[in-house]
């Protein structure tokens, strides 16, 4: 009897969470949230979902294509750069979100990164944010010409491409978890 009422209470609590979560999604106008394991198979599913949604909402073609391109780079950045599980891995899930504000579409990704990978990534993000359209074009051309294939799996060229398609400054954050790992969050806007 006691167990049954505990169970009921727990259920009610989780239902409250769901309605709170639902309310939050409505307020922030979130179209898609995925949290968990990322793979190319999953990426394809998320891309197909988004494409259908944008088509049904008659999003302008160029905007839709820019969003698709940015999403591919963000998702593959997560799925290709999984941190190896060494036991010290704090096991924080990766997240991808797609939302809406009055002026922009907003794409957010968040994933674990080894602390030693942060400096080159941060340099690239700051470099990209300091450049105008022409500067980004030149940087993209140079980086692509000089990249080796081990680098294309890194965020180097992807970040430049994202910045070119977004046409807005990239917002990012690194939050240190422990001596080895941090969480890297990236927020990209695309004007409607």
């Amino acid at each position: 009897m006691e167990n049954a009422s505990k169970k009921l209470l727990a259920n009610q609590k989780s239902l409250t969470h769901i309605s709170e979560f639902h309310q939050l999604m409505d307020e922030k106008d979130i179209m898609l949230v995925y949290c968990g394991e990322f793979s190319q198979e999953l990426n394809k599913t998320l891309l197909a979902f988004t494409e259908r949604k944008f088509k049904s909402e008659n999003v302008e073609d160029n905007t839709r294509r820019k969003m698709f391109n940015i999403m591919v780079e963000m998702l593959q950045n997560i799925s290709k750069n999984k941190v190896e599980n060494t036991g010290e891995d704090p096991g924080i899930s990766s997240v991808f979100m797609l939302g809406n504000s009055s002026d922009d579409y907003v794409l957010i990704s968040s994933n674990m990164i080894r602390n030693d990978k942060i400096p080159p990534l941060k340099n690239r993000l700051d470099e990209v944010n300091s450049l105008d359209k022409e500067g980004l074009k030149q940087l993209y051309k140079d980086a692509r010409l000089n990249a080796t294939f081990s680098e294309t799996s890194g965020a180097g060229i992807g970040i430049i491409d994202i910045a070119r398609k977004s046409e807005q400054k990239l917002e990012y954050n690194f939050e240190e978890i422990n001596d080895t790992y941090s969480v890297f969050s990236l927020l990209i806007k695309v004007s409607k």
């Binding site: 190319q40 990426n43 394809k44 197909a48 073609d61 160029n62 294509r65 820019k66 698709f68 391109n69 591919v72 780079e73 593959q76 799925s79 290709k80 074009k137 993209y140 051309k141 692509r144 010409l145 990249a147 294939f149 294309t152 799996s153 060229i157 992807g158 430049i160 491409d161 398609k165």
Partner: protein
Amino acid sequence: MKVINIPATEDTPKVVLDHENKIFEISGRSLPEDVVVFYQPVMEWLDNFENTPIPNMELAIKLEYFNTASSKLILDILLKLEEIYQDGTPLKVIWYFLSSDTDMKEAGEEYSEIVGLPFEITEY
């Protein structure tokens, strides 16, 4: 020379390299996670083509989407063709873009600025 005919999938393009029927085409979406593996047969085909070139090949590139890793590989393909062209085999690349797709048009223009071979950019 071997004929290559790879059908398109959700994240990889259709690739036809068929000297018998004179069809040379890469079209669709190129978003594979491992581009090197996907394009391996294409690079091998190009190595053979370099050894036994057939004049006046026209390679049609008609992509809807490509990821940055594919963008690097497309550049490698074009640089290889540039080498073959500059060694004396006439050939041409035709880059197709949808009339509303300005980014794809610009991508073609950027490639044409880098590689030294006949490069046509055409709306469809």
